[in-house]
């Protein structure tokens, strides 16, 4: 057909370079998260409050030593869970519900690129959380020890495990169900996952089971390194790796985009 128009809309299709697409997507996802009040409550306000409150007020017996030395690793684990699991599950569930995932699936950004952008966005948020919580913990007299590489490895594996579980939930349940379940799981794991309440306060039978939870493995591993100066906490890393493989594989298999 002969073009008789002004030429404004003359086709000139093409995908942007992949790194640019992924960076743009990650930036937008992060912006959406930081703009959302409920998400900020979950990822920033609650961990900060718990850290300050439990460090300064003697609510639970955190064992020998400064309370903050026990609490800071647990709160870091909670921060990872709040972003990679709860926050990501809720946001993705509603993106699926409102057709955002569907619309993006017909954009030049490939699906794996979208997933990579989500992961980047989670990592950026976690870095901001870790910086904030570390500064507060130092102000409360925290004196961490241990190997930074082990800490980074724990955080990365924990993120992978929680992301898999969060995406599995978001991709299979209705958005409202995801919202409710993700918050409930957050609350249960906060109490029963060794975050602020030491696992040895629970009956010994329960301890064995709770110890296998990803949140317990992450907080225990971080505590081993940061509080007790352990080397590589292989047991906890192993538990997280299993959760990561199972969670991500199940999410990959069962995730529905619409």
């Amino acid at each position: 057909m002969t073009a008789t128009g002004t030429g404004t809309y003359t086709p000139k299709p093409g995908a942007a370079p992949l790194p640019r697409m992924i960076a743009a997507q990650a930036a937008l996802e992060t912006k959406m998260l930081l703009r959302n009040g409920e998400q900020l409550l979950l990822t920033v306000v609650i961990p900060t409050l718990l850290l300050v409150l439990f460090s300064t007020v003697d609510i639970v017996d955190t064992g020998a030593g400064e309370a903050v030395d026990f609490l800071a690793p647990g709160i870091l684990a909670l921060a990872v869970m709040s972003t990679a699991f709860t926050g990501q599950a809720i946001a993705t569930g509603f993106e699926r519900r409102y057709g955002v995932l569907k619309r993006l699936a017909s954009s030049p950004l490939p699906r794996w690129g979208l997933m990579m952008a989500k992961t980047l966005s989670v990592l950026v948020t976690e870095i901001l959380q870790v910086i904030l919580l570390t500064v507060i913990a130092f102000a409360l007299g925290w004196s961490p020890r241990g190997n930074p590489v082990a800490v980074a490895l724990l955080l990365v594996l924990g993120t992978a495990a929680f992301s898999g579980l969060g995406l599995l939930m978001a991709g299979t349940l209705k958005a409202e169900a995801t919202l409710a379940a993700a918050n409930l799981v957050f609350l249960l794991l906060l109490v029963g996952g060794g975050v602020v309440v030491p696992l040895d306060k629970f009956p010994s039978g329960a301890q064995d089971v709770l110890g296998l939870l990803p949140i317990a493995a992450l907080s225990d591993g971080l505590r081993d390194v940061l509080q007790h100066g352990a080397g590589m906490p292989w047991g906890d890393l192993g538990i997280l790796a299993v959760w990561a493989v199972v969670g991500l594989a199940a999410a990959g298999k069962f995730f529905r985009w619409e």
């Binding site: 057909m1 030429g7 299709p13 995908a15 409102y98 619309r103 017909s106 030049p108």
Partner: protein, 307 residues
Amino acid sequence: MRSEPVIQVQALVKRYGTKTAVDGLDLVARTGVTAVLGPNGAGKTTTVETCEGYRKPDSGTVRVLGLDPVRQSGELRPRVGVMLQSGGVYSGSRADEMLRHVARLHAHPLDVDALIERLGLGSCGRTTYRRLSGGQQQRLALAMAVVGRPELVFLDEPTAGLDPQARHATWDLVRDLRADGVSVVLTTHYMDEAEQLADDVAIIDAGRVIAQGSPEELCRGGAENTLRFTGRPGLDVGSLLKALPADCSAAELTPGSYRVAGKVDPQLLATVTSWCAQHGVMPEKISVERHTLEDVFLELTGKELRS
């Protein structure tokens, strides 16, 4: 001129569980504007979404710009623009923010500010998507479909629920896209929209294309047209009928008001007026009623209500 097929669908079958949504559908859409019409549940959206790569055919073949929308999705996606029936935008994002984002995913996007201006989205300001009016949400989705400078745009009910101003703005944009060589495939329930915009109309019912052609072709063929005139009461309708071609009918509806139904062409008009002349009748208020696309649509798909 409209020779290039942009979409070729052959014997497409798509089932959801036991329900067959699309049942051996054949469709060729060429460059220009193609309107897909059909009652609710006819299979319009399923057909379009199969072309967009969202659904995998149970059988049959689908080619869009010569590509398989599922297997060659990566190659196809940058070349097409998609407007979903609803949603598709982060509820917490602002209109310009989302549009700029989609633009960033493309290599040579349109000028975002000009597009915002053109579609009247500038007034959305800092309002987030969930608080925009339905019309604003709709126009944003349209803008998102065209911002990447695609060759082919899919619009699923682009003006559903829009006020007349927004409808005309959408129509003007579709016309400009067409003039600049962008092909458009749109689904709609508005017959005037199809008549206004489409080079080609496909009517789908029960999962098949039951008619296809230009709006003029569809209105001319198939449906009968009507010729009406008034004269003195009690004319000999039998004699008129004898003068007419065999497949025509004639009747005096009310005293002095006559109707001839059949394939109304210049020859038939001449036959009726010469019969009147022979019988000393002055046919006053003579009129030819062209069938509208809506008449054709209802004739083909029936009048009972659908899901």
